[in-house]
């Protein structure tokens, strides 16, 4: 998306005067009319240019200028550690001509009208707001300058602006003073935006704007919220897959100490008490009855997730790969699997809800503000506008909070007692009622020509759903698309220099919830494809890095991928040999138009893979905050390492297990690589995706390295068996 646009004006404007705080500038949203149906769903999830889609009818509050000359930025995107608030502050500060310290980013409550219709996820927050936010901030700056010119009795051209202070005609006015003295605003054309060379904050490693609060342990998360007179709720949840609530004997619970009310609904039973412990203990005395249709085991799930089961959808095809692979000799075939993955984010799900006669307030960690509001409204029989969702900082998102039905239960409890109720999952419930990363099965086939180049390659993927069944997509999406875009994210062949290639998807609906897990299918798909590329390279007798470069197409995407591969190899000092008991492994992926490559350096210690160093190269388009890009790479690398090496859920006697940290093994301090080098390749495209792409290559990079030490190809995640 470029800066060059014809004259544009925000066509609707409404201004909110807040007498105590200052003046808010709410800019109407007809600008944002790029409805979902205009872009293909596949494009939405795979491209970096996800549209910002908000509720287009209401004016939305973006900025508020306070009397103290601070600017409050109401963010429709939530902050879950991915650094979005910091990036938005930098972008706004540059065009607004304020210092970064003057901007305070807050989560926009739905009452502000600034409601994100898409969700925070898919690595799209910065990329989707890059253009709109700059335009709004620049417009607001010009509005303030225009008013200042009047108030100072001079021309706009004679004004200078710095740090929220407008100077002209020998005098100065702060933004706060300007807004206080203005009653009627003119909205100018959107001005020319700054050039990259003019940025003060964009492109700089500005420290996170929420850093101090997080280091001080500020009460900023959903779990920390409270309202006056608040009570505590607990809901009985099943530990069996597919359990349907039949009824419950709550007689003992009614008499437990601290219990205010036992709440019986057709679909659940819960209890409200005066403390969390009282609610939990009362809940434990409830004898709930569930019916389940089947006593599921892991072997049942494994039997379902098999390439060839169900109807295939070809999601990618060039040339005649099937004909070649079906008929020619010396075709290499390989199978790979990945397990059920839990989110395991540290802050459990829950909400603080206060339901009153005709309205409700919901304080909640959510990635889907709009859906949360709609579901609570539906259950309470109220108009969505009567519900104010107040999002909080998330103690981890990772896709877990792209659906928040727990808000419904908390609302029902609050309504039943007529008081605010705080209701949160236990950790066991968190593990057993997750919307998991689905297990996968892959079969790859490949054929080399006489020069050792890939003549044909095919990736077959069987996976549980990611997108289908999520409230973000209407039920109609499944039959239209056929294949689940989330499941085959990263599953297409990225080496388009290969003359014949295809990717085929088999969709499986599992008996438990599977959905969005950071980077969706990218981790498992890249593990399979990039392990297979390693096998093909060895079969061809070629260096794996060189082998990949040979198959990249000659276009912009191919160029960017090649540069990233070369940069990673160079920085790592790539060599395909074992030195002092250590070996390197290589892998690369392209996700949402962001190519990324890893070199993992590992050894085997006490019979287990040990990761010493990871070198990462990434091309995320323009970099808003290089320190945060680096942080996202570091986090993705270790989280991906954790999932690839250690994590897995099993199904035993109808239960998803384990249900506690420890038995659900994850990477700890001792497991994380002591060295991580990140090379950021910048270009002047708009900012692209960063939050997920670096997850892709890590599984295969580690497995490929391990192969060089053990000569045993690891084909199943987790790589380390427990």
């Amino acid at each position: 998306m470029s800066n060059a646009k014809p004259k544009k004006k925000f066509s609707r404007r409404k201004f909110i005067i807040r007498s105590t705080v200052g003046v808010g500038v709410a800019i109407g949203a007809t600008y944002f009319t790029r409805p979902l149906w205009r872009r293909s769903l596949a494009g939405l999830l795979n491209s970096a240019e996800a549209p910002y889609v908000g509720n287009t009818d209401e004016p939305r509050l973006w900025f508020e200028v306070t009397a103290e000359n601070q600017v409050i930025l109401n963010s429709p995107k939530v902050e879950m550690g991915q650094g979005t608030f910091t990036g938005l502050a930098q972008i706004a500060a540059d065009e607004l001509e304020v210092d970064i310290q003057q901007i305070k980013v807050i989560h926009a409550p739905t009452a502000s009208g600034n409601i994100d219709g898409v969700s925070t996820g898919g690595s799209t927050s910065i990329s989707s707001l890059w253009q709109p936010l700059r335009e709004m901030a620049a417009t607001m700056r010009e509005m303030l300058k225009n008013e200042a010119a009047k108030q100072l009795g001079t021309e706009v051209a004679d004004l200078s602006v710095e740090n929220g202070v407008v100077t002209g005609n020998g005098q100065s006015l702060t933004y706060g003073e300007i807004v206080k003295a203005t009653t009627e605003w003119e909205v100018p054309d959107v001005p020319t935006l700054k050039k990259a060379s003019e940025y003060k904050f964009v492109g700089q490693p500005v420290p996170r704007v929420d850093l101090k609060d997080k280091v001080n342990g500020a009460p900023m998360f959903g779990m920390d919220a409270s309202l006056p007179g608040m009570l505590f709720g607990a809901v009985v949840r099943p530990d069996q897959i597919g359990a349907t609530f039949v009824g419950a004997d709550t007689s003992e619970a009614e008499n437990m100490p601290g219990v205010v009310k036992v709440v019986r609904e057709p679909d659940f039973v819960g209890v409200v008490a005066t403390s969390r412990m009282a609610a939990e203990q009362a809940k434990q005395t409830i004898k709930a009855e569930w019916t389940t249709d089947r006593n599921w085991q892991s072997s049942d799930i494994e039997a379902m997730i098999k390439v060839g089961k169900g109807d295939p959808v070809t999601i990618q095809k060039t040339g005649r790969p099937k004909r070649i692979l079906d008929n020619e000799e010396d075709v290499l075939t390989a199978e790979f699997t990945s397990p059920i993955g839990a989110h395991a984010q540290l802050e459990p799900n829950g909400a603080v809800v206060h339901v009153e006669a005709d309205k409700a307030t919901v304080i909640i960690s959510t990635q889907v503000v709009d859906i949360t509001r709609k579901e609570v409204a539906d259950r309470l029989g109220l108009d969505p506008k009567a519900i104010n969702i107040i999002p909080t900082y998330l103690g981890g998102g990772f896709g877990r909070r792209l659906h928040t039905p727990n808000a419904i239960q908390a609302a029902v409890l609050s309504k039943a007692v007529g008081k605010p109720v705080k209701c949160f999952f236990t950790r066991k419930e968190e593990f057993q009622n997750d919307t998991f990363r689905p297990p996968t099965h892959h079969i790859l086939r490949g054929k080399l020509d006489e020069k050792g180049k890939i003549k044909a390659i095919e990736h077959n993927l069987s996976s549980g759903d990611v997108m289908f069944g999520s409230p973000l997509f209407p039920g109609i999406a499944a039959p239209i698309l056929g294949a689940d875009v989330g499941a085959w994210r990263g599953g297409m062949i990225q080496y388009k220099g290969i003359p014949n290639f295809r990717a085929v998807s088999w969709r499986v609906k599992l008996p438990f919830a599977t959905s969005w897990w950071r980077s969706l299918g990218l981790l498992a798909n890249t593990f399979a494809i990039e392990s297979f590329m390693d096998e093909l390279a060895l079969k061809a007798g070629k260096d794996p890095v060189q082998f990949r470069l040979e198959h990249i197409q000659d276009d912009k995407a191919g160029y960017r991928l090649s540069e990233v591969i070369k940069a990673a190899a160079k920085k790592a000092g790539w060599k395909d040999e074992v030195v002092n008991g250590r070996a390197m492994g290589f892998a690369a992926s392209t996700d949402a138009n962001t190519p990324c490559a890893h070199v993992a350096e590992v050894s085997i210690e006490n019979g287990e893979i040990k990761v010493h160093k990871v070198t990462c190269a990434i091309d995320p388009g323009m970099v808003v905050n290089p320190d945060q890009v680096r942080a996202q790479c570091e986090g993705n690398i270790i989280m991906g390492q954790s999932a690839a090496m250690y994590e897995r859920m099993i199904v035993k006697d109808g239960q998803l297990l384990p249900s506690i940290y420890g038995p659900y093994r994850m990477a700890l301090m001792r497991d994380a690589p002591k060295e991580i080098d990140v090379v950021i390749l910048e270009n002047d495209d708009a900012p692209g995706a960063v939050g997920e792409p670096p997850m892709g290559p890590i599984g295969a990079a580690i497995a490929n390295a391990a192969f060089r030490l053990t000569k045993e190809r690891l084909r199943s995640l987790p790589l380390v068996s427990s």
């Binding site: 009460p219 779990m223 984010q345 103690g395 949160f424 991580i676």
Partner: protein, 160 residues
Amino acid sequence: MKISFNINGQPQSLDIDGNTPLLWVVRDILDLKGTKFGCGKAACGACTLHVDGEAVRACSYAVKYANDKRITTIEGLSNGDELHPVQQAWMEEIVPQCGYCQPGFMMATAALLEQIPNPTDEDIDNNIVNVCRCATYYRMRKAIHRAASIQSQNTKTQTS
């Protein structure tokens, strides 16, 4: 039962069921939200605070044991506006991402540095076993070494 203790330099006295986990006393009764609930099973360490200077997981510590003890939470780690060396280092290295687990890690680290002022990487591996899902371990390790350095500089400044 009546339980009295000192928390972050303030005396506190409560009449409460002695088996209540200290975590809920701190969070819900004393309204100190910095100490977090992650699992309630002493597995993740998000609830780590100090009892008489030692790291304790508050979700698995009955408040009756806190009688006559000195409790420090993340809110009490700093000295007014002056951040603890661990917090200073966490700021310098820009460690937190979502931030939810960080107080527990900072408290565990502060307890470590109290007894091992100059920890090796192996000391860090053995002592710091909390769970961070955002996986900020790489910067945490750097921050722990930095905190040790800040602390030793402070000590030199005090004694010189």
